[in-house]
Symmetry: C2
DNA sequence: GATAGCAGTATCCCAAAGGATACTAGTATC
DNA sequence: GATACTAGTATCCTTTGGGATACTGCTATC
């Protein structure tokens, strides 16, 4: 596996690539980051609305995830001076930069699952043949 | 964020996409999967060699990770009947299917880190201006 | 004045990931 | 017969991610 476009393959470029990948995996990883982003993809939502739509998330975790997403500039937090105050979370333009990555991950994930299913079937029919 | 190429945006396609992404994140996630694959990218290695090159991994964890990578068909385990037996781990052809995903992740990770650094600098100079 | 809704916090708890350390079985060398 | 090398296992421990439950401060309504 060469994960660089040029022909270089030094220890530095590799570990730099590895830490960049780790960074990327970190900011979209975990149980709730993607579900939250996907919920917000259908439009801005308030805290309680998010909590209801995500069904099983607890406020503590939701709060923490929203803070991290905001730090990474994927979402924007807007406080409306209503009574009581309402807080709206919305996707930033920057969040669209994830598209390519997510599409690659999705496509690869689909293909991989199919591949594993196929090789499972293959090993099962092998077993059947062996039993005969 | 629309993570599909067509114009459809139903609940099913979304949650399917989400679980495909989760699958993908799972098989390359964790602390050691990528470092192991990258080490093997420079050529096949035996168990002990891997352990030395990864420096701080314990045999228990290495063993577990290798098993999972083998299950996912990223690596191949070959036992050589030497004395004592040596076991060689090598990348499979299938492991190259990760290339595109990893390149996207790496590029995005690089860009994201730079972006965060830039916005950190910006907020610092804002503070300086405010202090004047 | 009690209740209900808002956006969260605080505290305690559990399970999973990973680490530390010691150990296994087999054989060749000293 | 002790030592060292191979590829791992076994047991115990710590850290981390996340969950359960209760609570806060604020205000509008009943």
């Amino acid at each position: 596996m060469q994960i660089h476009t040029e022909g270089v393959h030094s220890k530095e470029t590799c570990s730099q690539a590895a830490s960049a990948i780790r960074d990327a995996l970190y900011v979209i990883g975990g149980k709730w980051k993607l579900p939250i982003l996907m919920t917000l993809a259908s439009g801005p939502q308030r805290f309680r609305e998010l909590q209801k739509m995500l069904e099983t998330i607890t406020p503590k975790v939701l709060s923490k995830e929203l803070k991290e997403l905001e730090l990474n500039e994927f979402i924007k937090r807007t406080v409306h001076p209503t009574t009581p105050v309402t807080v709206e979370y919305s996707l930033t333009h920057y969040s669209t930069s994830l598209q390519k990555v997510l599409i690659e991950l999705r496509d690869w994930g689909f293909a991989h699952r199919q591949r594993l299913r196929a090789s499972l079937r293959a090993s099962k029919s092998e077993q059947v043949l062996e039993e005969k």
